[in-house]
Amino acid sequence: MTQAPTTLISPDPLISIRDLSKHFGEGSARVDALRSVSLDIFPEQVIGLLGPSGSGKSTLLNVIGCILEPNSGRMELDGESVYDGHWLRPNLRQLRLEKIGFIFQAHNLMPFLSSIDNVALVLDLAGYNAIEARKRAAELLDYLEVGNRADAMPASLSGGEAQRVAIARALANKPRIVLADEPTAALDSERAGIVMDLLRKLAIDQKAAVIVVTHDEKIYDRLDYIYQLRDGVLDIESQEDS
């Protein structure tokens, strides 16, 4: 089992994976994307997931995000057992809405919604009324220092602003787990640092676990732990004292 052992703040991991395997194809065409991966991630941790193309990073992120069903193993998210040889929840989209926030490399904001509406959308889906949703969305945008761009459409935002709005959207429903796919790839060092600081802040403020898939060396020093995936096998590569 690969586990970040030393800086435990809570005894209960937010993400707990045991012997998780995933393969594609069968017979001679079989590709093992994940081989018996085990991993525990605790609240307030920001960990990095590295690996060359095809190493299984995206597969692992998709599995933790409940987008891709593994072939075997067990998985618990925020204390709830969600996979044990099969999905234990019928409605995985609702699970994602409740527990997981996603941050994308290309921010993936809805181009037809303003910044504030992009954030309020998640709250609208979660059942907030329109006034509450916009109020919380405005608070989040202020928290991420893009409150002045609340009514701007995504096309008019800079890369850094768009990524902050995307982070605000990921945090809108107060998820305990945040999955970030190359969140700093399109940003310069200064802005990449700001985004990582924000992720760190939310991990602490919301007692959340953040997984960052990255190739961006300039943010390695802002990660608590760095995990390396090679041919579907997960190893802890380095441990930074944050």
Partner: protein
């Protein structure tokens, strides 16, 4: 939060252009339905205008519109003596093409005896015929007015009155002449032709002895069917009621045109359905990443289905509305009559709604198959 409305508002120009294109197509569908209605109305117009309950034509023939018919003029007197008949008239029908100014005009000449059955129903300007020769009453669609003169055959006629909604089953506007003038125009030969026929020893036919049909109006207490049977049995003519004449017109004269327009309308509706389906599918494909993101962040299927269906319905109904307004405003430009009935409009709106819902199925099916992992793809 209404995502369909927000998306439309964001790409309003594109949406409007799409709606304009679709509105032309739906306008054509509406026009075809209007032409279909106009065809039927035109076919029945003359029968309704003449307003006779009984039509008498040549034995074995199906009336002056479906087949040519010639019967003696004095048939009118014989019919007038049948108990229950209160009014009669003799009529002739003939299509002509004549030069008026720089343009050629096709008209439908109706000859009748002024003061008797067979004349125009309403005079909207000028007066009706009085029995004087070389006078005419025209339908307003001839675009002739009182005081104009027109050459028909060898004679020139003065327009003394204008009527409306008097057209042949082919949509040609009517021109009413006195029976005497109409018969002369129909049967009199030109001087060279007369000389030629005389040289051949052929007897020149008398123009005033035959008409196309005799029409009769009966008293409210009389049975049209009984009088028709009497005429068939004792007078040896074909006789039919107004209802029979209407059926013949629809079944014989305009049936093929009706089917043709009906089939063309059906094909246009199918083409519209395919085009709407393709537009919806393209709009869906353009939003694949957004749909994947919606799925990833937890949006239920109903949110995604609503996005597609609401856009499809709004596009269909806005296009239908624009198409309707367009056709309503240019209906008088069409050479043949267009009749736009509210029930047809509502019916087509219903069809558009059904088409949009069916067309959305393809887009919805595509959207629901979208893998949320696509949102993570770089």
């Amino acid at each position: 939060m209404n995502l369909a409305y927000r998306d439309v508002r964001h790409s309003l120009g594109r949406f409007i252009v799409t709606c304009l294109g679709l509105s032309l197509l739906l306008g054509v569908v509406l026009a075809m339905i209007g032409i279909y209605r106009g065809l039927i109305a035109d076919a029945l117009e003359l029968v309704e205008t003449i307003d006779a309950q009984i039509w008498i034509v040549e034995d074995g023939k199906r009336g002056p519109f479906a087949e040519s018919s010639r019967i003696p003029l004095d048939t009118k007197d014989a019919v007038a003596r049948i108990p229950g008949v209160v009014a009669t008239g003799a009529v002739t029908f003939q299509s002509v093409e004549t030069q008026y100014g720089q343009s050629k005009r096709r008209m439908y000449v109706i000859g009748y005896q002024p003061g008797q059955l067979g004349g125009p129903k309403h005079i909207i300007s000028g007066r009706g015929l009085t029995g004087r020769n070389f006078e005419a009453v025209v339908d307003h669609r001839t675009r002739l007015g009182v005081g104009n003169q027109i050459q028909l055959g060898r004679n020139t006629y003065s327009i003394v009155g204008v009527t409306k909604n008097a057209v042949s089953s082919g949509g040609e506007p009517a021109i009413y002449l006195s029976l005497d003038d109409a018969q002369k125009m129909q049967f009199d030969l030109s001087p060279p032709a007369t000389r030629r026929e005389r040289a051949r020893g052929t007897a020149i036919a008398s123009s005033g002895s035959t008409v196309s049909a005799v029409v009769a109006r009966i008293s409210p207490n009389a049975s049209a069917e009984h009088i028709v049977q009497t005429i068939r049995r004792w007078k040896h003519f074909s006789a039919m009621t107004e209802e029979d004449q209407g059926k013949i017109l629809l079944q014989s004269v305009v049936e093929k045109a009706r089917k043709q327009i009906g089939m063309f309308t059906a094909i246009l509706i199918m083409v519209s359905a395919v085009i709407i389906a393709l537009i919806i599918h393209t709009m869906t494909m353009d939003k694949i990443r957004e749909i994947a993101t919606l799925k990833l962040i937890g949006a239920p299927d109903r949110v995604i289905v609503a996005l597609i269906v609401q856009q499809a319905l709004s596009m269909g109904l806005i296009s239908f509305g624009l198409g309707g307004v367009l056709i309503f405003n240019i209906q008088n430009v069409f050479p043949k009559r267009l009749i736009l009935q509210p029930t047809d409009g509502l019916g087509l709106a219903g069809v558009v709604v059904i088409i949009c819902l069916l067309a959305s199925v393809y887009g919805v099916f595509t959207a629901l198959k979208v893998d949320p992992a696509k949102a993570l793809a770089g």
